[in-house]
Structures are given as C-alpha cells and as structure tokens.
C-alpha cells in the first residue's frame, strides 16, 4: 500500500493532500468527541471541507495562471 501511495504521489505531490487531510480530520475529530459515529461523521465533513477548500484554491490558481 505504501509503495502504491508513493507511486501515485510521485506523479504529483498534490495527491499527498488526501492522506494528510484524512489523518488530520480523523485525529482532530477524535480529540473533540467520544462517540465513534460522531467522530466519523465530523471527520468526514472536515475532510470534505479541507479538500474542497484546497480544490477551490487550486481552481483559482489554475484560472489565474491560464495561458501564462
């Protein structure tokens, strides 16, 4: 799994945002609540928020650098 992740990320370092966002979301949410369902629900939302925010920033930068 580690090798495939490295291989995937070797093509573009941006892919590392997924495992990092996943880990941060899960650990942060786990430190906020005790119930597993609530942790998972909250972690999922946080993960989507982080990745969504990154995607928006990525899209804006891509648009700004269009034909540069």
């Amino acid at each position: 799994m580690m090798a495939s992740l490295t291989l995937l990320a070797a093509s573009n370092f941006t892919w590392y945002v997924f495992p990092l966002a996943f880990v941060i979301s899960l650990v942060y949410s786990a430190s906020r609540y005790e119930l597993p369902e609530r942790i998972i629900r909250r972690a999922t939302r946080l993960f989507i928020t982080i990745v969504g925010f990154m995607a928006i920033v990525f899209a804006v930068l891509l648009a700004l650098s269009f034909k540069l």
């Binding site: 490295t6 880990v23 899960l26 430190s31 609540y33 942790i39 939302r45």
Partner: protein, 325 residues
C-alpha cells in the same frame, strides 16, 4: 460548526482512569494513553494515524527525516514538532549524544585521530577491491577484516588482517597496516565512493550509504629487514542500524539527499511535523477527555431547529386557546 456543551467539565461517561499516567503514556507512544483507559476506538485512530504519518514521513525521507542537531547554522527547529510523537522521535536525542561523544578510535572524517583508546578492535565482514603493487588490475575481494589499534600513548599504529577470497574463488590472507582510513562508527550517511581503486565504470556522483562504513588499508609483507607495502584494499564493512538511525546528518550527506529527493524531502519533514503536532491533541484528550463533549449533544443546527420548533409550538398554543375561547 459550534456546539452547545459545557467545556469546563469532562463528561462523566468518559473514564479517564489516572489522567496523568494516560497523558504520559499517550505522549510516549501515540494512542497508548487511550489503550490504558480502555477507549479502544480512539486509541486505534491515534496509534494508526499518528504513527502511520510519522513513519511514512520517515520512509519518504529515506529514514533521514528525524534527527537533532544544534550547531552553528545547522539547527533542526522542526525537531521540536517531531518530538511531540514521543518515543519514536526520542532516539534522535540519544543519537545526538552518542554522535557528539568520543567514538571508537576508528572515528571521524575517515581518519583515526584518537590516541588514547588503546586495544580497540574492529572486526567485520569486508567487501571491496584490492590492487597489488606493480599491477594495474583492480580485483574484487571479500572476507573477514580485523583491525586492532596498537601502541602507547605517544605512538600508535593500526594492524590487522583480512582473510577471504579474491574474485570469489582465490583464497587469500593479507596482513594490514598503516595508513588506514575507517569511517566513523556512528554516522547517518557516509560517502563510500572508491577514492583509490576507482574504476571507469563507477558512477561519477558520490555514493552515500548509511549501513556501510568506509575502509581503506595498505597491505604489508614482512621482508628480511623491512616491511613492504604490497597492495591496497578499499571497500566497506557493515554499520549497525543503531549506529545510523536518527543520527545527525552531515552537511554533504544532507545536500546529497536533497539532490536526489528534491521536494519529497520537504514533504517528508511535513509528515513527521504533523504527526508530532497531532499527538499533542491525543495527549490532551487522554488527560482531559474530548474537547467538545461525549458526542450525543445536539449540534448547533439541531439545537436551533429544536428551539424554533418549541418557539412555534409556544406561539401556536395561545392562538389555539384564543380560537377555542
């Protein structure tokens, strides 16, 4: 998303046992405090996520991401984030001490420099090349190398032997002596390129290795009156894992690492920093319990919905009463 909870108290349903013990355990090994408290789901999250991130960062940086160095311009400030992960990063502090302490006589900058460590011995399987005097050919040699430092406090020399085979078949026993060059025992990454017995097909770039230690010796033969140098051997012997893991890295090896890994090295550092910082959340959770509450409290949205529903029912009640009247 805000929440309606009382932050001043830990939920009584969360059994913290001895919070100080849990916090210390949680600091030393991510998730250990929660295993101790019996909070297995969270323990699994912390252990897998934090240790996974930390060791994946180590893997990305060729296991050279975590070390402690505080000299001149070379300061590893990021180590203060990495140390948050506890025991897995603490080896760097021990290695920093070992690295700075006087090492065995076969130490430092490829030269034996210390005079006082008498009787020290280096015994290890050697792999390398040999060239005999008067010959142009460089041949492969393998065998058991023994080097011993002899002499008094004022004068000292290194003697030894190599018993092995040349080109994998011809058995040979060589008497070794000065000049001798041996790589340091405790070293993160060492340049092990051939300097004396270089071949044309060898790569132009310097070759670095952690688990190999550079050795160069001259081969002596006793004549009737004198000792003659008859050959030179150059190669490597193994370096133990604990003699390179989390050891402070030298500038040239660091530059080499940055050259071959590029941005990946920075990313590797980020992974280990994040792991250390995340463990602080886990430690606090082990000590104080979850920050927002147990998890069955209504969210702000749910509370608002409930409030508006009760408000609506309250406003409906007088209307209904008025209608009835």
């Amino acid at each position: 998303m805000g929440l309606l909870i009382d932050k001043s108290m830990t939920d009584p349903r969360v059994k913290l046992k001895n919070p100080v013990v849990a916090a210390v355990l949680g600091y030393l090994i991510p998730g250990a405090g929660h295993w101790y408290q019996g909070r297995y789901f969270k323990a699994a999250i912390y252990t897998v996520c934090i240790l996974g991130t930390f060791f994946y960062g180590m893997h990305l940086g060729n296991w050279k991401t975590v070390y402690y160095k505080w000299t001149g311009r070379s300061k590893t400030i990021g180590f203060f984030a990495q140390i948050g992960v506890g025991l897995p990063a603490m080896g760097a502090l021990i290695q920093h001490k070992r690295y700075d302490a006087p090492q065995d006589p076969f130490h430092a900058n490829h030269r034996i420099e210390k005079e006082s460590s008498l009787g020290e011995k280096l015994e290890a399987p050697f792999k390398g090349r040999v060239r005999f005097a008067g010959e142009d050919a460089v041949r492969d040699i393998e065998g058991q190398l023994t080097l011993v430092q002899d002499g008094g406090e004022m004068s000292w020399e290194v003697n030894g032997s190599l018993k092995g085979t040349i080109d994998g078949k011809e058995p040979i026993e060589l008497e070794l002596g000065d000049p001798v060059e041996v790589g340091p025992q405790i070293f993160a990454s060492e340049n092990i390129s051939f300097q004396y017995l270089r071949l044309e097909e060898d790569p132009v770039q310097d070759q670095f290795a952690s688990d190999r230690r550079y050795v160069m010796c001259h081969v002596h033969e006793k004549g009737e009156a004198h000792e003659y140098e008859v050959a030179i051997i150059e190669g490597t012997v193994p370096r133990a894992f604990w003699d390179y893991y989390q050891v402070p890295i030298e500038d040239d090896a660091e530059q080499h690492l940055n050259r071959i890994l590029g941005k990946q090295m920075e990313l590797a550092l980020v992974f280990t920093w994040i792991a250390g910082l995340l463990n602080l959340l886990a430690v606090w959770d082990a000590y104080e319990g979850p920050a927002y509450g147990y998890g069955d409290e209504p969210t702000e949205e749910e509370a608002k919905k409930k409030q508006s529903e009760s408000h609506a029912s309250k406003t409906k009640e007088p209307e209904a009463a008025a209608a009835e009247a």
